[in-house]
Amino acid sequence: MLLINCPWCGPRDESEFGYGGEADITRPADPDALTDEEWADYLFMRKNPRGLHREQWVHEHGCRRWFVLERDTVTYRFSDDTT
């Protein structure tokens, strides 16, 4: 079980959180201008790195806020910086 450091509540058990996938994906400003490939890339394609991964979490059973953490997908260790 992971111990996740919520920026507001502090360290809490993984079971209180929901996972929101890769972070820093922004919706294209003008979707109509995109090709089908570009749109599909935005919608479906995600990185699957071996190593550091910036990802979104939501503290569902706590403060209910979304935040971003960086986690090493090999060691499951979270980096210290929280945004």
């Binding site: 507001w8 509540c9 502090g10 058990d13 079971s15 209180e16 059973h61 706590g62 403060c63 806020r65």
Partner: protein, 211 residues
């Protein structure tokens, strides 16, 4: 047509089913608190104007720290960076909400009356920490969770707000109405598994909630 409808407390079945049998050692008393009026308030904590308007209206400061609550005429729990739960005597919440809305007019805020959705229970006794800790991942050790602190967490998979009122220890537990009976039964069972009793008590105004 509505003759057949009657009010029944969410924990009536639980209290009716209390036989008084069980281990002799008391772990804690589980007091079913009278119902309160609840307001969920959201706003910008960095806005001096917002904080002062609320403080003036409620005649009580909003808790400034994360995971803290303030007591007074209302009990105000800080749920998140921009979210508070205001518990007041049942029946006064409408008036409080009206005054807040009036004074906050023009400011950015959200105010939702969530009365009736919650049940408050008070777990008090020498082994209350152990009873809770069997189903809660929160660090309840006195060095980590002190009187005046509150936290939203899960107890036996149920979302709830746990607040430590004093070092008896006395835990105030606010749980969704529909989960209240499950949570109360779980607490009693948790007491039994450490060979102690969790004794249900009802002290609400109007006596026994079973009608």
């Amino acid at each position: 047509m509505s003759d057949g409808l009657y009010r029944r407390h969410a924990l009536a079945s639980f209290l009716e089913g209390e036989t008084g049998n069980g281990p002799e050692n008391t772990a804690a008393d589980l007091e079913v608190r009278p119902d309160y009026g609840y307001l969920n308030l959201r706003g910008e904590p960095n806005s001096e104007r917002f904080m002062q308007t609320v403080q003036k209206t409620l005649e009580q400061p909003l808790p400034a720290e994360a995971g803290a609550f303030t007591s007074g005429q209302h009990t105000i729990y800080r749920l998140g960076p921009d979210e508070w739960l205001v518990a007041s005597e049942l029946g006064t919440e409408n008036e409080t909400a009206g005054r807040l809305a009036e004074n906050l007019a023009g400011q950015c805020y959200s105010l939702v009356d969530v009365t009736g959705g919650q049940i408050m229970m008070r777990l008090r006794g020498p082994r209350a920490r152990e009873v809770l800790a069997r189903g809660c991942t929160l660090d309840l050790h006195p060095r980590a969770f002190k009187a005046g602190r509150c936290a939203q967490t899960t107890l036996a998979k149920t979302s709830m707000l746990i607040a430590l009122a004093d070092d008896a220890p006395t835990f105030d537990i606010i749980v969704r109405r529909s989960f209240a009976e499950y949570a109360a039964r779980w607490l009693r069972h948790s007491g039994a598994s450490i060979h102690s009793r969790v004794t249900p008590v009802f002290t609400g105004a109007g006596g026994n909630p079973v009608r």
